[in-house]
Structures are given as C-alpha cells and as structure tokens.
Amino acid sequence: MPSADKVTDMASAVAAHVEDGMTVALEGFGHLIPFAAGHEIIRQAITGLTFCRMTPDLLADQMIAAGCVRRLVASFFASGSAGSLHEVRRRVEHADPAPLEVEEYSHYGMVCRYQAGASGVPFLPLRSYAGSDLPRLNPMIRKVADPYGGPDIYVVPALRPDVTIVHAQRADRSGNVQMWGITGAQQEAAYAARTVIATVEEVVDEDVVRSDPNRTVLPSHAVAAVVECPGGAHPSYSQGHYDRDNAFYREWTPISRDRDALLRWLDEWVHQVPDRQAYLEKLGAERWETVRVAPRPSQPVDFGRRQVIA
C-alpha cells in the first residue's frame, strides 16, 4: 500500500516533534515504558515540559532530575509499589533544587482524562472521589448533576498532550502499531495527543501486521513517526522480548537518594551515550543475559480467506 513511510531515528523524531514547554505523555504501565525516548528528550535538553504519566517511576525521576519537567500530571508517585522517587520527593518536599508543580489524580482519573482526550469530549464521569480530599487539592476534578435524576457525579477533564510517546513490540513502516501483554492506557494516551511517536522493538513487513489486524492498537492514521529501537523499554520490559531488569530498579533507590549520584548516572548513561544501541552495548551482554526470556508463542487464529466460487 502506498502509505507514507514514517520510519525515522530517535533523535530526528524527538527533534521534529518535542519542543520546550509542551505537554508530553510517555505511557506504559510497568510494561513497555519508553525509556529510550525519555533519554533522548534529556539529551536534547528539552525543558519546561508538562509531563503526563500515570506512574511516574524511574523515568520521571530521571527526566525531572535532568531539568526537563516543570509540571507533573500523574496518579502514582513511586517506583512500583515499593521504592520512593527521591528526585520527585526532594522537589515536592523541599523545592530542592527547584519546585515541581504536581497535578494529581487517581489511576482511573488519569485513564478517563486520556479517554476523554482521545474521544474529543470535554470530560468523562467516574465513580471515585465522593468524600475524598483529592478534589480539594486538585480543582480540575469537578462535579456534574446527573440529568437522569441520580446523584451528582465527579468528572475529570480531557487531557490532550501535544505529543504522546509509546513503546511497542512492532509496527510496519506506515505506522500500524501492534502491542501485546499489558497495554495499559496507551491507546487512549496516543489518540488523545496531537502527535504520536511510536518506538518499537522491531519494524516488520506489513504482511506481519496484516495477518492479525485485531492486534493493531494504533492504526497508521494515529501515528506520526516510527522509531525502531530494540531494547527501548529497558530497564522495564517488552513482553516476549526481554524481561524487567529488577536489579536495576533496586539499584535506582540509592542513586535517586543522592542527587549528585543521580546526576553522575545521567551523565554516564544518558548524556555520554549517543543512542540506545550504545546504551545496550555499555550495559553489556552479561547483564542482558539476566533479562532474556524463552519463547512462548501464541497459538495462531484463522482469519479466513474467501473462496473464489468458480
């Protein structure tokens, strides 16, 4: 099919679409976190971002420490259910080295914000927040009267990022993106955005994509740029490609606790490596061996082909 070829490299994609002061979402719920794209944003010294991410974990800590982020829009401020994000805490608790604006929702509040943005409606209702202090902390959580006579219900406003970046297992050159395992709110976060960058483990022939159209989470019309970036989710994981680097997550806590150590880490692992390939080489084959996974293929389904009645 004569669709535009959207494959580009990471530096070009970020340079073309991400600008100082933009509202940018990088999504991925534990899985397929677009770390490589976040590191490129750091390398390009983009600043003043409103950074949207349900679970601002290590990636947020890194981007905030690097000075990219003015405002954080999020629903869970921790590394998984465990580790603190010390850069986030330093800024929120002590404005050290600078304050950080925080706009806080619950998980489903964020999901509904993306969904409203993706659907082009101004708000969506949800059954959370009755009796909560969250609407007092965050005046963007509001109430509407139910026109069918039920009780009032809280609503959250549409979130419409300038750019959403997601990482996925594969895409074809025209930007049909396929993803499996935990898919989180990526479809919503992407459709909510004006521009979408998809980084993928693998750019595949369109026949691969077209053999299973139900697997396409983002059709090409929703995607502006495709970047082939194997290992782009490390230290998070890509189902079927490599596992989470749990050791790295544990190593992060002491790094994050000491701002100088954090800045040294950024220098060594982000600024001093030109791209993800160099990062993986620096990480080394031995470390990679610890996150390697064995195959466990899905059983194919049949889409069928019309018989030509002669």
Binding site: M1, P2, S3, A4, Q115, A118, S119, G120, V121, D172, S174, N176, Q187, E188, Y191, A192, E206, V209, R210, S211, P213, N214, T216, L218, P219, S220, H221, A222, F303, G304, R305, R306, V308
Partner: protein, 267 residues
C-alpha cells in the same frame, strides 16, 4: 485496451444518472483527501476509482472498525469478512467512533439520505409524521456522528426532486452546523457538514460552513432551470456554475472491468 487506445482523456457518454457517472463525479471530490469514512456501494466504487486515478493514498475507514482494508474480493456490506482479512487494523466501536471519528481523524464522510435540505441537514429516519410515519427509514446509524465530526460530508442522492430535496425535512436525523448553531452557537461542531451533494441532475455545493447549498455543476443535457425546478426550495446558483465533467472512458472501464466486474453496485 480499445478504450485506452482512445486516450485517457476521451470522455464517456454514460448517462448522468448512471452509477458510473455518479461514482466518477464523487471520486473527483477525493483529490487531496486522506481518510474517507463510508459505507459500501457507490462510495466504495468512488474511493476505489480515486485510488486508481487521482489519489493512490486515499484510505477507507469503515463504521465496522476496519482501517486499511486490502480486500481480495468485492465487499458486500461494511462488515464483510473480506475487508477484515489482511486489514491493517480492526478496532472496537468505542475506539472507532470515539477515537477515530470524534477525535477528528476522518476527512470526508460519504452519506446517503432520503432527504437533504438547503443547509445540508439530512433525514434518514422517517417520512410523514413522527408517530405514524408513512415510511419508517433505517434511522441514524453512524451518520449522526459522521456529520459533526468528519472534516466534510459528501452526499450522493439517487433522486433529484422536491421529495428528496424538500424545503422542510420531515425529520432531521443528521443536522447541519447551521441547525447546531440555531440550537446553541457554542455547540457548532468541528466539521463543515455537507460540502457537496451529488444527484442525478447536478452537483450542489455548500461553500460556507453556516451557509446554504448552491447549484455548482449541472449534468450534461440539463439546464440550471431543470435543476432549480426539481429542487424543493428556491436554490441559488453559483456565479461560476458549469456543466459537470463527464467521466472519462478510462474511468468507466476501470469501474466496469476492474472494480466491479460482477456489477454488484453498478446499475
């Protein structure tokens, strides 16, 4: 081959009321458009023709959730299995109507209607009075969503008479932005509404989002007065009104010999 020997520019003499004529006129309106939302039938023919002539990149999105179909056969209906096999994506309806359509990813919506009024509002619900209609029509389907959300809408009518183009709709299923404006000026939707109505007699255009239809092209063999006489209101005529360009011989050949060889939609 004979027809190609005549040159691609040679014009066909198919009747202006024929499917071939209407499809070729519709295809011309797709120049420069990216994504078209359509049912099957005449819109499918028009999109397929555009793809083979003026706009190889034009893409069809179906209400059934299918994007980027590459059917191995001619589809009977928007939910045909041949549209699914080998498609680029199949989305559920919340994503299709919410994320694709309502978020503004569709440039052109192709619609049919029983009635179109001067503002490009459509009736696909009923003829007669609301409680006991003389004819119960299919209803809104997705048209009520396509009208406000597609960049513009093209309507193809099989009739051109005051019944199909009345002064007043019996029911407004899919409102023009003009009607939305009348309800509440702040509720005017993002889409232009109907930009073009293609009938067996003429091409009507609505250049202004809050304006009305004007006679823009008159099919060969007919006069502006023929068109105005068959329209249910006193329809204005464009300053630059002209004769509708005939399809080329090659366009008709493509429709008959490559696109709809079994004459499923060609009539």
């Amino acid at each position: 081959m004979t027809s190609q020997a005549l040159g691609a520019e040679a014009l066909s003499d198919v009747a202006p009321s024929s499917t071939e004529f209407l499809a070729a006129v519709a295809a011309r309106h797709l120049v420069g458009k990216q994504r078209v939302f359509a049912g099957v039938g005449l819109p499918t023919l028009a999109v397929d023709l555009a793809r083979r002539t003026t706009n190889p990149d034009v893409e069809l999105v179906y209400e059934s959730g299918i994007c980027g179909a590459q059917p191995e056969g001619l589809a009977e209906g928007i939910a045909d299995s041949v549209l699914v096999s080998g498609a680029a994506a199949v989305l559920g309806m919340p994503a299709l109507f919410g994320y694709v359509l309502q978020r503004g990813h569709v440039d052109v919506g192709f619609l049919g209607a029983a009635q179109v009024d001067r503002w490009g509002s459509l009736n696909t619900s009923l003829i007669g009075n609301w409680d006991t209609p003389t004819a119960r029509l299919p209803g809104a389907g997705g048209a009520a969503e396509i009208m406000p959300n597609a960049g513009e809408c093209v309507v193809v009518l099989r009739r051109h008479d005051p019944g199909a183009l009345p002064a007043e709709l019996d029911f407004c299923t899919s409102p023009s932005p003009v009607r939305a404006h009348a309800e509440d000026p702040r509720m005017v939707p993002p889409g232009h509404g109907v930009s073009t109505v293609i009938t067996p007699m003429a091409v009507l255009r609505r250049p202004d989002k809050l304006g009305e239809l004007v006679v823009s092209e008159v099919h060969p063999g007919l006069t502006v007065d023929d068109v105005r006489g068959a329209t249910g209101w006193d329809i204005p005529v464009a300053d630059d009104v002209r004769e509708t360009g005939r399809p080329t011989v090659e366009e008709v050949r493509l429709l008959r010999e490559e696109i709809d060889t079994v004459r499923l939609y060609l009539r």
